[in-house]
């Protein structure tokens, strides 16, 4: 298992066509134009129709996914969605009931964990309490039958990589949480696996340490050009570290996309609600005018939205708009000749103000009874012109900021 992972010159293997998702992406956001890898390059890891049940519980449901060499891929989902089971199947701790797992073209679905060129970093780190930091890191190298001198060199390299110099002789219970995390990382990287699996690697750290560690992980992954697959339930973490995220729900992949696409162009209402905060308006798709579509929402109001790339086939739709894209003003936007008619204006009364420091979140109860959330950045320290509860305001947003989703 001394085989090295293929070198990646530019580890920005970005989003490409999504073989895993049932439909192609609805909208492409200009900023993250997909950067397709050279054609004919097979993916490093191909998951094909993999399924796994525990008794009657279908943990992973015929799931397919391709992961390219050099990617930092995140599996994100609520607890019980099957993400950990999928990761454990990649590590070999679970055997799929069906499907194939191809690593570099070879099916490893039935290969036991100790024979896979894949390593895992465990959520609780699983450091061997009876071994020192050095012996923990050297553990996998010894199994690989590496020469003693080579092991020493590799361990030293790993120790400096995770900046644990001077700690080599300590036992795990003499380390802080952050140090343990580094030892676990070094231990799983020492064998230079083709794919590194990380199971909630930062869950045990406090918030500050977690954020700095996220950046170290990204930095490390970029430097090593290794393929990382991380499982997390923390969407901020997934969006920070990963270049592509697969969102799982009930054993299936809901969407595989870049963080930006997930947020700005979710495929489904479920994704829109799962990722970030969103205002949803249920309604019926109405008439088209140019590249604008009008949706009649429940209580007589209409919302004009930008025509989605993916034509809406059903009439029952759902308009989603992120709170930070909903602006508030006392009288509505200053009219701007050409665009005025296209801007959505919903009138109502501020019902709640939540000050969060960097942001203030307003809840506006529309005359129709629907509550719309708007978040506004507090960009100036002494700017006191917020809105007060009870104040009458106009909530407005542009058609292009709206997302149309089938219900």
């Amino acid at each position: 298992m001394t085989e090295e992972s293929p070198d990646i010159e530019t580890p920005k293997a970005d989003v490409a066509a999504e073989p895993a998702t049932p439909e192609p992406p609805a909208e492409a956001i200009a900023a993250s134009a997909p950067q397709v890898e050279p054609a004919g390059e097979p993916p490093l890891l191909r998951i094909e129709g993999v399924g796994k049940s525990f008794g009657n519980f279908r943990a992973v449901d015929r799931l397919s996914l391709d992961i390219r060499a050099g990617e930092f891929f995140a599996l994100l989902g609520p607890s019980g969605c099957g993400k950990t089971t999928l990761l454990r199947m990649l590590a070999g701790f679970e055997t799929p009931d069906e499907g194939r797992i191809l690593l570099g073209g070879n099916d490893i679905a039935q290969v036991p964990p100790h024979l896979r060129p894949v390593n895992m970093m465990f959520q609780n780190y699983a450091l061997f309490p009876h071994l020192s930091v050095r012996d923990n890191i050297a553990f996998g190298l010894k199994r690989a039958g590496m020469a003693r001198a080579e092991i020493a060199t590799r361990v030293a390299e790993m120790v400096s990589l995770v900046r644990l110099e001077g700690m080599e002789k300590r036992k795990p219970d003499q380390l802080s949480g952050g140090q343990k995390q580094r030892v676990a990382l070094a231990r799983s990287l020492a064998r230079r696996p083709q794919v590194l699996l990380l199971d909630e690697p930062l869950a045990a750290l406090d918030k500050k340490l977690r954020e700095s560690t996220q950046h170290e992980l990204m930095e490390l992954q970029r430097r090593l050009g290794m393929t990382f697959i991380i499982v997390t339930h923390d969407q901020e973490e997934a969006m920070t570290v990963a270049n592509r995220i697969g969102v799982m729900n009930a054993g299936r992949l809901e969407q595989v996309a870049t963080p930006r696409d997930l947020y700005e162009a979710p495929h489904s209402r479920w994704i829109a609600e799962f990722i970030g905060d969103v205002n949803l308006f249920e309604g019926d798709a109405g008439w088209r005018q140019g590249n604008r579509l009008t949706v009649a929402i429940k209580d007589g109001d209409t919302i004009t939205v930008g025509e989605p790339r993916q034509p809406v086939t059903k009439t029952a739709v759902c308009v989603a708009i992120r709170p930070e894209k909903v602006k508030l003003s006392r009288r509505g936007p200053v009219s701007d000749a050409a665009n005025t008619h296209a801007i959505n204006r919903l009138e109502g009364v501020v019902s709640d103000v939540g000050y969060l420091g960097g942001l203030t979140v307003y809840k506006v109860k529309l005359d129709s009874g629907i509550v719309v959330r708007s978040s506004m950045a507090n960009t100036a320290r002494l700017n006191m012109d917020g809105y007060l509860v009870g104040q009458r305001v106009v909530a407005w947003f542009t058609p292009d900021d709206c997302m149309v989703l089938e219900q």
């Binding site: 525990f54 070999g92 701790f93 679970e94 055997t95 036991p112 964990p113």
Partner: protein, 304 residues
């Protein structure tokens, strides 16, 4: 599950030797007890008929089966000696277990309420006597309880009694011995459940208006019931069959079933009746044994 399945194969292989051992030296012997309990006494070596001789083939075994009878069990239910020893065993076990619970619970509770760093020490203190020989501990009590022993000396010196009290060869002495020997078996499971209990539960009960005593009865005690059950079974079952303690400390007036069995076996050399007594004792213990088995499996397998 499958990482576990990878381990399961070798682990099951590991179990083969102990499995075979337990079948041969624990399960199979019960078959012999059952068989001999249905046999007749004989002045022979071994002292019973029929003797199965496998070398003589199937026919002799079949013939031997014909000679089996329930006579020994008929004796057990018709002779007062057996019935009274049977009943006495149950009675002694019930009373002893009740005393053990009354003493063990406060001790375990006190241990669980100790500051955290003192708890392991307290636990060691309870366990250490368990490591010293059980026979020695009974003997130690004979030292104290005998006619001119320490207890009588203290009582006389304090003028609580005017002449030495007879302690040895009484039920009191036997109960002291049993309680003394089995106390760790009661305290440890109780302590284990009480120590695990979340202290904030009592605070919550207090916060909701329960007095400490009520909080104990409404919260602590119900939650400690699994520990109570474990402690009770761990004491009750072996006490029913206890031999050494009643033999050394109790009077010779009435016997427990274990003593009867011993007497039949060693003194009267009546192996079939001794076996029948063992079968009867086992039948009596089957319900608590099943309960204990379930409890044990839950506590041990639950951790994994």
């Amino acid at each position: 599950m499958s990482a576990r399945r990878i381990f399961a194969g070798p682990a099951r292989l590991a179990a083969i030797a102990p499995y075979a051992w337990m079948v041969l030296f624990f399960l199979v012997p019960f078959g012999f007890v059952l068989k001999i309990s249905l046999s007749q006494t004989a002045i022979a070596q071994p002292p019973y008929v029929p003797v199965f001789d496998v070398t003589e083939g199937w026919a002799s075994i079949k013939a031997a089966f014909g000679q089996l009878s329930l006579d020994n069990f008929r004796l057990l239910v018709s002779d007062d000696l057996y019935i009274s020893s049977y009943l006495r065993s149950v009675l002694v076990a019930v009373i002893s277990t009740a005393i053990l619970l009354l003493i063990g619970y406060p001790v375990a509770y006190g241990m669980a309420r100790l500051p955290k760093r003192w708890q392991p020490i307290a636990m060691m203190l309870v366990i250490v006597p368990f490591w010293t020989s059980f026979l020695i501990r009974i003997y130690a009590w004979i030292n104290i309880l005998q006619h001119d022993g320490l207890l009588n000396k203290v009582l006389l010196a304090l003028h609580i009694v005017s002449k030495p009290v007879v302690w040895l060869s009484t039920d009191t002495a036997m109960y002291i011995g049993i309680v003394y020997s089995y106390l760790p078996f009661m305290i440890l499971p109780l302590y284990a459940t009480l120590a695990k209990m979340d202290g904030s539960l009592l605070e919550a009960a207090g916060d909701l208006g329960a007095s400490p005593a009520r909080a104990f009865w409404l919260v602590t005690f119900p939650l400690s019931l699994p520990g109570v059950a474990a402690g009770v079974l761990l004491c009750f079952i072996p006490i029913v069959g206890e031999f050494v303690i009643p033999d050394l400390l109790a009077g010779s007036g009435s016997m427990m079933i274990g003593q009867t069995l011993w007497l039949e076996f060693f003194t009267n050399k009546d192996w079939p009746v001794a076996s029948a007594a063992a079968v009867a004792l086992l039948l009596l213990l089957i319900p608590p044994l099943l309960l204990y088995d379930r409890l044990q499996r839950r506590t041990l397998a639950g951790g994994g």
